[in-house]
């Protein structure tokens, strides 16, 4: 019977652990991507130096803005050429007569403010256009929100399923001890006195149940992190093995203990009301 309960905890915690690892990494990647969100402010070709300065000052006045960097049209062209790789050579023709605009690169404190302040910057005098990949940014934020909420719901669902499974398996153990509990109540035992051994049993059950999941998560994550294939994608940057895996193990242990104790106490609740 105890094997069944430990098995239920183990299965759940492996799932919860894998999910947590996935969620926390998704969140990490998403946060990194969000950090990369920036607004490019294109300056009118006709603007003179003073007017360019004035634009920079105006942007700095906006409270949500974290940093403003000026990038001259020459720098813009350089970065365009280098981003094109081998094909960039063609663009070198334009070095004589650069058609690009001077630009300001603006970052906000909170990436989600991007959409709010971009139009505001667009209204400043001598600003030709603001570019921030509106669609992409909106989709990114929406995806991140969905992913976080769905992950949270799934984890909560898994935990409740585990509690249900455990309280059912323990209930069978307790049916065998029902008589004992009845006699304890008869001779005047308090509920706390009766609950105590079940509390300990649940705790042990949860702790034993989290050993295997922790081992699986630690080794699995180690393997994943060492796997070179993933490093090909520069934007996928996993949370570092240390301390992330240890924090995750602690969380799994805590959830395991919590599930065990709760499941155990839930299952005797009925028998205490005599």
């Amino acid at each position: 019977m105890t094997v069944a309960s430990v098995g239920a905890v183990t299965t759940t915690l492996v799932l919860v652990g894998a999910f947590l690892a996935l969620m926390m990494n998704l969140n990490h990647i998403a946060t990194n991507l969000e950090k990369d969100v920036e607004i490019k402010v294109l300056v009118e070709l006709t603007a003179d130096e003073q007017q360019i300065e004035a634009i920079g000052d105006e942007i700095r006045k906006i409270p949500e803005v974290a940093s403003v960097n000026f990038s001259s049209k020459e720098e813009e062209l350089d970065s365009l050429i280098s981003s094109m790789g081998d094909e960039g050579d063609i663009w070198q023709l334009y070095e004589q007569d650069n058609p690009l605009n001077h630009a300001y690169v603006v970052k906000t404190e909170d990436p989600t403010d991007t959409m709010k302040i971009a139009p505001q910057i667009g209204r400043i005098d001598n600003v030709n256009d603001v570019v921030y990949g509106q669609e992409a940014v909106q989709n990114l934020f929406r995806f991140n929100d969905y992913a976080r909420n769905i992950g949270l719901v799934l984890i909560i669902g898994l935990v409740f399923t585990a509690i249900f499974l455990i309280s059912n398996t323990i209930k069978i153990t307790i049916l065998a001890r029902k008589k004992e509990i009845g006699i304890m109540k008869l001779v005047g035992a308090t509920n706390g006195f009766i609950r105590w051994p079940f509390f300990v049993e649940g705790l042990l059950l949860g702790v034993f149940g989290s050993i295997l999941p922790i081992a699986v998560i630690v080794s699995g994550y180690y393997f994943l992190e060492q796997n070179v294939a993933l490093k090909q994608f520069s934007f996928v940057e996993l949370l570092p093995f240390n301390p992330f895996v240890w924090q995750l193990s602690l969380i799994i242990l805590a959830i395991g203990a919590g599930i065990g104790v709760w499941g155990s106490l839930m299952s005797i609740r009925k028998f205490l009301k005599v």
Binding site: K179, I183, L186, V187, G188, T190
Partner: protein, 228 residues
């Protein structure tokens, strides 16, 4: 000691077990509860140690009004009441000694007091030499004596016995009655539900007869009053 006023009990399935009980039992009394099966005897007894709650009316036990007693206080009420059942309710895996000690461990008595007190009650019920036996190795009468020992081990003021001789042969029943009388002589109130005409008519005590949820007779040194 025990005082019930206008007590009604209707179970959640609609069955009415008690229909207005008024009774007063003094400290040190010995009362038989008699009546046909299903008349409400068991419910009457269960109300005294809060295994059931009345639908209406008030109950006072040991000078405490238990009608609206909180769940948390119920264990403390039960520590002053010993209960003995027809089926003994002993834990089969524990020895005689452990079964009795259990009642004291539950109330967190010190180990030294437990040993002293358990040996005392085993002596009283005459089972000192069988302390290490498990219930299955004992006769029915011996098992009931263990149950009685457990019920009185923490000096309850009230001992409730629900057909304590129901599963025993006549000779053994007399032994059990003798022990109960001894306990009663020590000042413990005894309430005993029984179907035994012989016992009630031989060992004369107060008789309370319950029929259809009502007390129909309450006599000092009464008769059983039904065909056996």
């Amino acid at each position: 000691m025990i005082e019930m006023q206008g007590v009604y009990k209707t179970y959640s399935n609609g069955v009415t077990a008690l229909n207005g009980i008024d009774v007063m039992i003094e400290q040190g009394d010995f009362a038989y509860i008699v009546g046909p099966s299903g008349a409400g005897k068991s419910t009457f007894i269960k109300l005294m140690f809060r295994e059931e709650q009345p639908t209406k009316g008030s109950i006072i036990i040991n000078n405490k009004d238990i009608t609206n007693m909180k769940w948390k206080q119920v264990p403390y009420l039960r520590r002053d009441i010993g209960v003995v059942y027809q089926d003994f309710k002993l834990l089969p895996k524990l020895s005689v000694y452990e079964n009795i000690a259990f009642a004291l461990e539950v109330i967190e008595e010190s180990p030294k007091n437990i040993r002293r007190r358990v040996m005392q009650v085993l002596d009283l019920v005459g089972l000192k030499n069988k302390a290490r036996f498990i219930p299955d190795e004992l006769s029915g009468g011996e098992q009931q004596r263990v149950a009685i020992a457990r019920a009185i081990v923490n000096h309850p003021k009230l001992l409730i016995a629900d057909e304590p001789t129901g599963n025993l042969d006549p000779d053994t029943s007399w032994d059990i009655m003798q022990i109960l009388e001894e306990i009663n002589d020590g000042g413990t109130t005894i309430i005993m539900a029984t179907h035994s005409k012989d016992i009630v008519n031989t060992i004369k005590k107060r008789v309370i007869a319950i029929e259809s949820g009502l007390i129909v007779r309450d006599e000092h040194r009464g008769e059983y009053g039904y065909e056996a």
